[in-house]
């Protein structure tokens, strides 16, 4: 957040925009690193170190174990996001000396980042239930990058990529998480009100996507042999 203030000070007239943009990007990036690396390690470490043996011998179902890991990490990310957001608002206060009604958009942007991170955690759990840690990290990174270009995939012109590739891309774009919808940094930086419909839509989308991914993870995990 110090960097946001510093860069903001040398950006004459657009300090607020720079602070909000940099601040939200930092929250998103650090949250993303935590979600991927901790998320992948949550299950794989339990299996590698065999701590899971004693745990699953207790009256706990495998899907409950997985759901507990998900909720625990999302809560951890929420605490981290709140702490970083406090820094962002302090930086805004330092520059503006007051907070305005339009700053509410920053809250919404932070909420969207948290929803996005929840999806990433669910994906990290899914991959770590079925493959190695390294591949899980690579898959998560791939899904995140691809999910950030969903609109481009949907509008890929068939005369450029060929009709088959364009169709595949379009189908893939509906399977991949649409992270573009969660990116409202530009709107928040300019203090533009974020529509309530988008908040509801993103909340529902993230909940459904997490539920489907976690159900798939639980199905794989429930059939896994712990050799």
């Amino acid at each position: 957040m110090g960097a946001a203030v510093l860069v903001g000070q040398i950006s004459i007239g657009i300090e607020e925009i720079v602070i909000v943009s940099l601040g939200l990007s930092a929250i998103s990036f650090i949250g993303l690193l935590m979600a991927v690396f901790i998320g992948v390690g949550l299950v794989s470490k339990e299996m590698d170190k065999r701590t899971i043996y004693a745990l699953l011998s207790k009256p706990v179902r495998r899907w409950e174990f997985l759901l507990g890991k998900f909720v625990g990490l999302v809560f951890t990310l929420a605490v981290n996001t709140v702490a970083m957001s406090a820094g962002l608002f302090l930086a805004l206060l330092y520059v503006k000396h007051t907070l305005e009604r339009s700053d509410a958009a920053v809250f919404v942007a932070i909420y969207f980042i948290l929803l996005k991170l929840a999806i990433v955690v669910a994906l990290a759990l899914l991959f770590s239930c079925s493959t190695t840690s390294l591949l899980s990290i690579l898959y998560c990174a791939g899904f995140y990058i691809a999910g950030s270009f969903v609109q481009e995939m949907r509008t890929l012109r068939s005369d450029l990529a060929g009709p088959v590739a364009a169709a595949i891309m379009r189908w893939l774009s509906y399977l991949l998480p649409n992270f573009e919808n969660f990116n409202v940094t530009g709107l928040a930086a300019h203090g533009t009100k974020i529509p309530t419909a988008l908040i509801l839509q993103n909340t529902l989308y993230a909940a459904l996507y997490c539920a489907v991914v976690l159900a798939a993870a639980a199905a794989i995990f429930s059939r896994r042999n712990f050799k």
Binding site: K49, R50, T51, Y53, A54, L56, S57, K58, P59, V60, R61, R223, N225, F226, K227
Partner: protein, 319 residues
Amino acid sequence: MTGPAIEIDNLTKEYPYGFLNLKKKTSLEGLTMQVETGEVFGFLGPNGAGKSTTIKLLMNLIFPTRGHARLLGKPTSDVQMHRDIGYLPEQPYFYDYLTAAEVLDYFAKFFDLAPADRKARVQNMLKKVGLETAGKIQLRKYSKGMLQRVGLAQAILHDPQLVILDEPMSGLDPVGRREVRDIILELKNAGKTILFSTHILPDAEMLCDRVGVIVGGKLQGIGAPGEIVGIKAQEMEILFALPSLGQNSSPLLDKATRTGDRYHLQVPEQDLYAALDQLRNAGAKILSVAQVKPSLEEYFMHLVAADRAQAAAVEVTGK
């Protein structure tokens, strides 16, 4: 609970391997056995025999290729049944940065115990496994033996009816082994059913009502330790002295083993009287005659040797 505590029916576990998982390695083949309520059952076998595979199948950590098992009358997939089961994994490992007391408290929370009860049980368990002074040290600083004790404590913390211990003596010094033996006997006296795997045969002989010997994924024998070794032909041991050394002759004397001024000779039970006559005629003074009790170890080694011979034959003939 009146029926068997553990019922295993044709339990088989195969692991696919190789290109496209087309080959299969059989870790356990058609295991059928029962463990009665209230008995201490020893599951014996060399490394890789299928002991841990069986236990993991019972604990639903791996899934059978064929067959099924029931614990306390319920299928292994019934998670709620785990309320009455304690399990010590082989070479247990827990969260490094927690203390023994914290790990036990964490596991106790799965059993809906009141906080005061939980605290009392944790303290009691730490005392029982000899860790009361080490309870506040992080587990990353624990030795293998100390982790084994924590593992045992978490297995019996909730006072289960059935206790399944995978190599409970592993990593323990003689004092630790003695303490574990005492805990197993204490559990038996409290009416619990105990199944434990081991390859430390004297422990099994000392503790078990019955043992099952598994070699190469197949159950080779099951029964009371004394009964199971009785399968081998009985031999008799004659202890004798030779007062007039140098003037005696008998083919049996050449077969005897000398220890100090005494001689030991083992003969088949049916040849005992003939051997005694021969020795007396040769001037020997008979000191004692005793039945040689084959040890569980001898029986075990006999089975392992037979399995290895069979495996070698398969390798040579390809069948």
